[in-house]
């Protein structure tokens, strides 16, 4: 549990760290959308350059990003193999019964792998450089037009930020409970499926009971501090759109629109 890097925030003061979370969210979203337009070497090259430039601008070593990909390694291998063996068409390199390795199979495996890695990496840049709370703020701000139709944007954002706030606490708690049960002789991750399911009970029940009690205490504390409903509150945190955000937007727009242009007009 200690080694999971995916989705974690790494404090820093880089260009990307200092960006407005709204800008990061929008760019990340656009980037992922445009990945599906990329279809050849040149378009993927532009996407890769854009990504690497962002990695450099985040001042976090590429090594750390690669580390972040590791938990998804097997998923990637699996998807690639499926594509290799089941993609049909083009030159056949190898065949065994209904399994075959074909030109098209290899191509689409390459494309899937490329898309997979790019999508994971761009979202990792977002999570490495943006505090979860800032992401919540960003989402709230981007969704704020929905207020007009009485959608409880602020309440949802507060719920999201509270949930994020207590993720580390609950992780700690889970680890403590696991340690306590290990000390009472439970072997996690051993034995058959039935055995494994049995070992989950001594974790889940205390975890659930604690989370429930904690939730009650937290809501009591919030109410004691004057929390009534989510919508009629002022906000302490404010997002600031700066020149750096506009520049990032421009750079991305140039890159992303060239990908679309390469695909359709050249």
């Amino acid at each position: 549990m200690n080694k999971v890097m995916f989705g974690r925030f790494i404090p820093g003061h880089s260009w990307v760290h200092r960006m407005d979370p709204r800008a990061k969210l929008v760019l990340c979203f656009l980037y992922i959308a445009v990945i599906f337009f990329a279809n050849d070497f040149w378009t993927y090259l532009v996407m890769t350059v854009l990504l690497l430039a962002s990695v450099v601008a985040s001042a976090i070593p590429l090594r750390v990003y690669i580390h972040g990909l590791m938990p998804l390694f097997w998923l990637m291998i699996f998807t690639v193999l499926i594509q290799v063996f089941f993609g049909a068409g083009g030159h056949v390199y190898w065949q065994w019964g209904w399994l075959s390795v074909t030109q098209n199979g290899l191509n689409s495996a390459g494309v899937i792998l490329m898309r997979f890695v790019l999508i994971i990496l761009i979202s990792t840049i977002l999570t490495f450089t943006t505090e979860p709370l800032e992401i919540a703020d960003g989402i709230e701000s981007l969704l704020s037009p929905l207020r007009k139709v009485h959608f409880p944007v602020a309440t949802l954002a507060l719920m999201l930020s509270l949930a994020l706030r207590f993720v580390p606490t609950l992780m700690d708690e889970a680890e403590k409970i696991m340690n306590a049960q290990r000390s009472r002789g439970v072997d996690f991750g051993e034995g058959g499926l039935r055995q494994r399911i049995r070992t989950i009970v001594p974790i889940l029940i205390p975890l659930f009971v604690n989370a429930f009690n904690r939730a009650i205490e937290i809501s009591t504390a919030m109410e004691a501090r004057g929390y009534q409903d989510g919508e009629n509150r002022t906000k302490y945190r404010q997002l600031k759109w700066r020149r750096l955000d506009s520049w990032s937007l421009v750079i991305y727009m140039v890159g992303l629109s060239s990908v679309v242009a390469l695909r359709y007009f050249i």
């Binding site: 200690n2 708690e173 409970i177 340690n179 049960q181 290990r182 000390s183 002789g185």
Partner: protein
């Protein structure tokens, strides 16, 4: 059977190899003799909890060796061979009531032994005995552990660890959050276990009075290092050093220093109220003379 515990050049880092790595133990060398009562003290974050989790190999040293009885734990030790150790070293964590999960108190106490191959019937017998040991009424055994008071839940949790019949009992601030009566009862339970069953006790505490009253060996942790070790008398003989490391004195000792200012003389600084009284009684006039 002696279960001496030895740490040799033990280092430990959390999340080693990531940008979040924290070195929580630095070059720890120490020995805990079988049958002793060792107190571990130190500021918050000094590494006390990290240290004791090495005693049953919940954490394995990043480098160095920990020896418990005849078992040697290093970074390479395979997780498969740790089970006998888990039985030998019982671990009571902070707020241990957070680990309760069974439907009844009896089942919860009997859970541990069954993981070590004890039959259900034998485990239940053991559980009843341990419940008595920690002062839980028989009538509570069929209740849900979640319906008990805080103090009672804590006893159930301790009984659940005692049911493993360990040789070493490790407790991380077992009295936190209890009222003074509850605190006293838990501490008396711990001393009784040591005296009657010869358990080795390792106790993390912030209560210097408890250290003075019960411990015979003290480990002082600070910023991941073992700053000092010795008998309570040795540790508490240097108030300036303790203050510099954000630690206090037992209240009797602190009071004795005040009396020293007021002209009293002490051969050795007292650690407990009864030692204090022994020292000052001969220096006092018989009070009743004055009330004539």
């Amino acid at each position: 059977m002696a279960t001496d515990i030895t740490f040799e050049q033990v280092n430990y880092s959390y999340q080693a190899g990531t940008p979040f790595a924290v070195q929580a133990l630095k070059n720890i060398n120490l020995q805990i003799k079988s049958g002793t009562f060792t107190a571990v003290i130190g500021q918050t974050g000094s590494g006390k909890s990290t240290l004791i989790q090495h005693l049953n190999a919940l954490l394995k040293p990043s480098s160095g060796t920990v020896t418990i009885g005849d078992q040697v734990i290093t970074n390479e030790t395979n997780n498969k061979h740790l089970k006998p150790l888990r039985k030998k070293v019982g671990m009571v964590f902070q707020f241990p009531e957070n680990q309760l999960f069974e439907e009844t108190v009896l089942k919860d106490i009997a859970f541990g032994p069954q993981n070590f191959g004890v039959s259900e019937a034998d485990a239940n017998e053991l559980a009843k005995r341990m419940a008595g040991e920690v002062g839980l009424d028989e009538s509570l055994l069929s209740r849900s552990p979640f319906d008990l008071s805080g103090g009672q839940m804590r006893r159930v949790a301790i009984a659940g660890v005692l049911a493993l019949e360990p040789e070493v009992l490790v407790l991380d601030e077992p009295t936190a959050g209890l009222d003074p009566r509850g605190r006293l009862e838990i501490m008396q339970l711990v001393t009784r276990l040591r005296e009657e069953q010869g358990l080795t006790i390792v106790l993390i505490t912030h209560q210097m009075d408890d250290v003075a009253d019960y411990a015979d060996h003290v480990l002082v942790m600070g910023h991941g290092e073992l700053l000092k070790q010795g008998t309570p008398r040795e540790i508490f003989s240097d108030p300036e050093w303790l203050t510099a490391h954000q630690l206090g004195l037992p209240s009797a000792t602190r009071f004795a220093y005040e009396l020293q200012q007021a002209g009293f003389e002490f051969e050795t600084m007292p650690l407990t109220v009864s030692e204090l009284a022994d020292e000052i009684a001969p220096q006092l006039g018989k009070g009743d003379d004055r009330h004539e």
